[in-house]
């Protein structure tokens, strides 16, 4: 199956500043890919190039077998901008009908789409009266119009409450199951962790890491943290451990983990509790960003 999105050697310079440097990646149909990076790492720039809003300095980008920004590409790509904005004088329903007309879809789809994102009751109110989260949902509703083959979502869950976020990812799962490719950027690393197939880490315009979370975790080889709680009055012999609020915190390399666990369990009754904390996505993200010199 051919990729929905192919990028090779993508470079973008703004007045001498390099925003993207030799980025190569591809997104397959039905794949959910998360794009992570600091502010200014080049995420939004990359999205704008994929959408054809700005031209690249060098490199090739192919979107649904067409050039980015071409009529053929735009017909198959949906976009949700960071801080989605709409004309405040229009109602949610009117705005959706307009977007449907631009995509050649029937206007009757407007209300069901708004209901799908939980805005059915507010559909006839002006967008000027909406909260940020509600505007974000209008943005999401318009991204669902038709059957986009690629969804480009810039910080899609900012402004959404935890329940809405869960609903949002459920919607994405449905789209991906029908073959749509999803490229989203996010700061909320924990939600990305559970809901995407692959992670891309951008740092200073370079793609510093790419792959499923498990692979990245292995590559990073970050130490595992252990929290050991001794039974009252018991003394534990754990070199390098730091006492934090009645518990002992210590770290070890991945390959030493089992040996250390065996030692702790051998202490028997002296140990009241034991927690093993694998490196979080935050740790992995910092690791790859820092290695790239941030």
């Amino acid at each position: 199956m051919t990729s929905t999105l192919t990028i090779s050697g993508l470079t973008k310079q703004f007045a001498g500043v390099t925003a993207l440097s030799d980025v190569t990646l591809s997104v397959a149909p039905g794949e959910r890919v998360a794009l992570l990076g600091h502010n200014g790492a080049g995420k939004s720039t990359m999205m704008k190039i994929i959408l054809g809003l700005i031209p690249q300095t060098a490199g090739q980008v192919t979107v649904c077998s067409a050039a980015p920004g071409s009529a053929a590409a735009r017909a198959q790509v949906a976009y949700l901008p960071e801080n989605a904005a709409f004309h405040p004088a229009l109602t949610g329903l009117e705005q959706m009908r307009h977007y449907l007309a631009l995509r050649g879809e029937p206007a009757t789809a407007a209300l069901p789409l708004l209901e799908q994102v939980g805005l059915g009751a507010a559909a006839r109110r002006r967008i000027g009266t909406y909260s940020k989260g509600m505007r974000q949902r209008v943005g999401l509703a318009q991204a669902l119009i038709g059957s986009p083959r690629l969804l480009v979502l810039d910080e899609p869950t900012s402004g959404l409450d935890p329940v809405s976020r869960r609903d949002f990812y459920a919607l994405l799962d449905g789209l991906a199951a029908r073959g749509a490719s999803i490229l989203l950027s996010s700061h909320a690393l924990t939600e990305v962790e559970a809901r995407t197939d692959r992670i891309l880490i951008l740092s200073k315009g370079r793609l510093v890491a790419e792959g499923p979370l498990a692979d990245l975790r292995r590559q990073a080889a970050l130490p595992v943290a252990l929290h050991v709680t001794p039974r009252a009055g018991a003394e534990l012999d754990l070199p390098g451990a730091v006492a934090v609020g009645g518990a002992l915190h210590l770290t070890c390399a991945q390959d030493e983990k089992l040996a250390l666990l065996a030692r702790i369990t051998a202490m028997g009754d002296a140990v009241a509790d034991l927690e093993v904390l694998p490196p979080s996505l935050e740790d992995i993200y910092s690791h790859f960003s820092q290695r790239a010199g941030q």
Partner: protein, 274 residues
């Protein structure tokens, strides 16, 4: 393509309605037209022309100021406003061409302007006809005034779009629009007048002056309406010049300007990167 243009036009018209632009434009044109109709009722008998023709001459002078102003006020925000609100990037990812967006907006803004002019001129016609049955003779001139007003509006609406694309920010576009209005509609004629006076019947007055009038869409609009109208005698200012310029030339200027400026606006919009 037609569907996307009409959808954009419908959406823009609704926004103009909500922003009170429709009511402001209609009220303004209606009020000024009625005032002119009332003021223009006095001198009719002596000139030997019907009342409506006299009113058309006054409305032409009004239209030359008011139509470009309304057109610019409605249009300066079209691109810069979308850019500032942050709605432009999303719109440009839709399968709609930038030309379609501009033409759609243009249709909506022209409809508002046509509604305003139609109401104003219509009220003036009713006022004239109610007191002078002979005013029917002035109706062709009024109808000509209506469609040339819409064309003049189209030129300045496109000018507004071009400035909007150029400045990227609504405040900048507004400043440019007001400056351009002042320059083309007010100062341009004053400058020409001063040049004619200084020239005292020389080369400028004979050769450059008619061309300078045709080059300005507002002056061409006034020239065409006054030249084609029976009531030239009732008008003042550049009216004297209308005798030397054949109406087809001023008509050509009125017809060509909207197309030319719209093409410029489209070029300007194409260069905007959100």
């Amino acid at each position: 393509m037609i569907r996307r243009i009409l959808a954009t036009a419908a959406c823009e018209f609704r926004i103009s309605l909500r922003n009170r632009w429709v009511s402001i434009a209609v009220a303004l044109m209606g009020l000024f037209s009625l005032v002119l109709a009332a003021a223009g009722s006095a001198p009719t008998g002596g000139l030997g022309v019907d009342r409506l023709s006299v009113i058309v001459a006054s409305l032409t002078s009004l239209g030359v100021y008011l139509v470009p102003l309304l057109a610019l006020l409605m249009s300066f925000d079209a691109i810069a406003g979308e850019a500032e609100r942050g709605t432009l990037p999303l719109l440009l990812t839709y399968p709609v061409a930038r030309t379609e967006v501009l033409v759609g907006k243009m249709l909506a803004h022209l409809a508002v302007l046509a509604l305003a002019c139609g109401t104003g001129y219509g009220l003036a016609a009713v006022a004239a006809l109610s007191s002078d049955p002979g005013a029917v003779a002035g109706l062709p001139a009024l109808i000509r005034l209506f469609w040339t007003s819409v064309l003049l509006g189209a030129t300045f609406i496109s000018v507004g779009y071009a400035l909007s694309a150029l400045s990227r920010r609504p405040s900048g576009a507004a400043g440019l629009a007001i400056g351009l209005w002042l320059g083309l509609v007010v100062l341009y004629d004053l400058g020409l007048l001063a040049a004619v006076v200084a020239d005292n019947g020389g080369w400028f007055t004979l050769n450059a002056f008619p061309l300078a009038l045709l080059a300005n869409p507002a002056d061409a609009f006034r020239l065409y309406n006054l030249a084609a109208s029976e009531a030239t005698a009732a008008a003042a200012g550049v009216a004297g010049a209308s005798a030397t310029i054949p109406p087809w030339q001023s008509l050509a200027s009125v017809l060509l300007w909207p197309l030319l400026v719209l093409a410029l606006a489209v070029l300007g919009f194409r260069r905007v990167t959100p």
